[in-house]
Subunit: 319 residues, 3 copies
């Protein structure tokens, strides 16, 4: 596997929430210190019933995906896959304002080093394990699903979103990266060529109603009804015969999912894109944007700030 | 071909509207006695014009598909395919409250024995004959399209549904069966992976507006406008050049239809699922549900009763 | 390549806006005289910014595609493809009431003779060049996109349509031709099998809202907001890294576009369809319809007049 470690290390040093000592005490960084034992609690598995479990994610305040997320989430999926009773697994967030957010860009070297037991990139293996899990994966989406967090969401079987509070954004192209986490591969099959192009190229915010219209989520529900709807759906499915549920899931998924080989190739293009000059050029500007506006403002107005950063780059190039 | 005849016979004896002598005089059973000569009138072919025909279905009161349905419908499709004048065939129901309903589960052994002249399961051959027919197949859907009846509908070229009166349900998974009539193969290509999963896994009722939003039907029309819309569309298409119509249909269908091999494999998985323990476990409970609530109540609130039966099974297992 | 030149010449002599001397001074014909030097101005390339260009089309009053359109448009696409600065190309119309309209049927022999430098039909090559262009192709659609003009539109990356003023129609099947310009191949992947069948078989008018619901366009915008939306989207995308934009476009397009081989086969079926008797039969009737109603009336009520012409043919056959 080709690992542009040097470029990624550079990225880690320079970009975004990454770690100069002066910033080490900022809340955003604290939350993403994956090396600390505390980080292992970012994934919590709850037993709703023998047949229904909930994997809750909490990496406050911005709910970034960090390398530990992949390890813990993959382990939870594998563990639940071995439990014959489990029929439905809910994926939720315990952090206000965010579902799963994007990869912590300051930890790219860590992500790129992550390899599964079978020698595949851990991210690719995680998505494969989710897709072939012998239970139904159901996302309850409140807050922002961004970057890798949105690509993770697209791998689930069913996706229910809060009409008022769910927002979707794929910022990769806007910061100069290739979106190689499988998201385009999933979305193009759901939304069609042009809408997938718009979503991934514009790097803009999409509200839940637009996402539903595009086929990005299965349904939207008024926020006040989301929890009850998801709970009822889960409890209903959990009473059905597991063989019937899973054989039917496998049949439909075999027709409509991108292959692992396709996702693997896309992932390799992503790791290569870390060395693209366009990204290097954007690092400093976005670092400054985040410093000026604050991480929370940037993360909750992603579409706007991606545009703003690029506008500044273009203006400076034109001077 | 592997035929789990023994299991199917067991099913026939025990399940649902199937035949104990005491139930033999119930309306539901009478209507589905395919062996009587009268049953041959369940399919009526009407000539609207030389170019437009209508195949009307009537198996009151519940409009179940019975083995005779497949024979008569296949023959009608083959006969009309030989008539060079025919350009459009409408598929309608003459029974209030139902389009084509699901297979009569009491007659599974009969279905499984049905083989076409070319040695394929008759159901698979019927769908193939519909899809390659040298005329346009247009469904006018008022009432419930359920199970095999919905899967039949998904094979037609155009599907127009009454906004108020059309309802869609695929109950198979909810009763422990694999939905192998081609429905998932069609719907996943129209609705996308997650919505096809939800429809086939939840075994719930879908109103016409949701079905339209999912791509399950071509259009919905207010009930008062449905007949006129379908008639106008049929008469318009019927004035066009047959070669242009059929070559274009063939071109689009070749890109987007599941193959016969794919449907055949799914069908074999369905026949195997008749022996799944999950189905056996549900037979008694659903038989009791139907006995208590009455067939008409169950068939017109399918989503609710599928949930209710499974809920009872789970509760009894937990005691 | 099989060229049914004789049939096409016949068509040219007899059909529609084609050229008897008596009609030579009609506005419709004047506008489509591709041989005159003036015709070279039908394509105008404007520089909005170094990164954003606009290809404006003007062939008043009916904005037909003529053989010169293919030559000029292909050249513009190739020229812009060589300019490294270009990231977004807008495709617009300067003619009120029409986006790109259908092929001028009086010039079919000219179209069929058009071969690219690589020996392919120029139309097929043009669509390929658009699809592999190293910039984003964005259509701003106000007025009617019909026939080949609509098929051209379907090849663009993003398609934004005026909610009030955009109308879509594929008349080919209604006049007895095979729609072989790639349109069905694109639309079936966006709208699903049945909706693509309806659109191409009915040859009827589709308003922008229906088109949006079918996935025929990316978005509709109120007419008063269309220009600003498209300009903002273009300017935003133009600030992004070109490598990120184009590699992502290529990745998504590779999954979802029909292949050139598929489009080539469809094109050959189109050229063969020029000899179909159904077309010959319709030529005289549609010529009379156009003569009686006037080209502008027919072109702006295409769905109605296609139906009316076929109705007359059927009635005359029944006498």
């Amino acid at each position: 596997m080709r690992m542009p470690i040097r470029a990624a290390l550079l990225l880690s040093t320079v970009l975004l929430y990454g770690g100069t000592p002066a910033q080490a005490s900022a809340p955003a960084l604290q939350a993403t210190s994956a090396a600390t034992p505390a980080a292992k609690t970012i994934i919590t598995v709850k037993t709703i019933s023998p047949e229904v479990r909930e994997i809750s994610y909490a990496n406050p305040p911005l709910n970034f995906i960090v390398p530990e997320t992949l390890v813990a989430l993959n382990q939870a999926v594998l563990d639940l896959s071995k439990d014959d009773r489990v029929k439905v697994v809910l994926f939720t967030s315990a952090v206000d304002g965010f579902f799963y957010n994007h990869f912590d860009m300051g930890q790219f070297p860590g992500f790129i080093r992550q390899v599964s037991a079978t020698g595949k990139p851990l991210w690719v293996e995680l998505i494969s394990n989710i897709e072939k899990a012998p239970f139904l994966t159901v996302a309850s989406i409140r807050g922002r699903a961004q970057g890798g967090g949105d690509e993770l969401m697209l791998a689930f079987d069913l996706r229910y979103a809060s009409k008022e509070k769910a927002i979707f954004n794929q910022p990769e192209v806007g910061i100069g990266l290739f979106p190689g986490g499988g998201g385009p591969d999933h979305l193009v099959r759901l939304a069609g060529r042009d809408r997938a192009l718009e979503a991934f190229l514009s790097a803009d915010d999409y509200d839940a109603s637009t996402a539903e219209r595009f086929g990005w989520v299965t349904r939207t529900l008024p926020d006040a009804e989301l929890d009850e709807f998801v709970a009822k759906q889960a409890m209903r499915l959990a009473t059905f015969d597991k063989t019937a549920l899973i054989e039917t899931k496998k049949h439909i998924n075999a027709i409509a999912l991108p292959t692992e080989a396709e996702r693997l190739e896309a992932y390799h293009q992503f790791t290569k894109s870390v060395t693209w000059p366009g990204l290097q050029q954007r690092m400093g500007v976005f670092g400054k944007v985040i410093q000026d506006a604050g991480p929370m403002n940037v993360e909750t107005r992603m579409g706007y700030y991606v545009g703003e950063g690029n506008r500044q780059i273009q203006e400076s190039g034109r001077k």
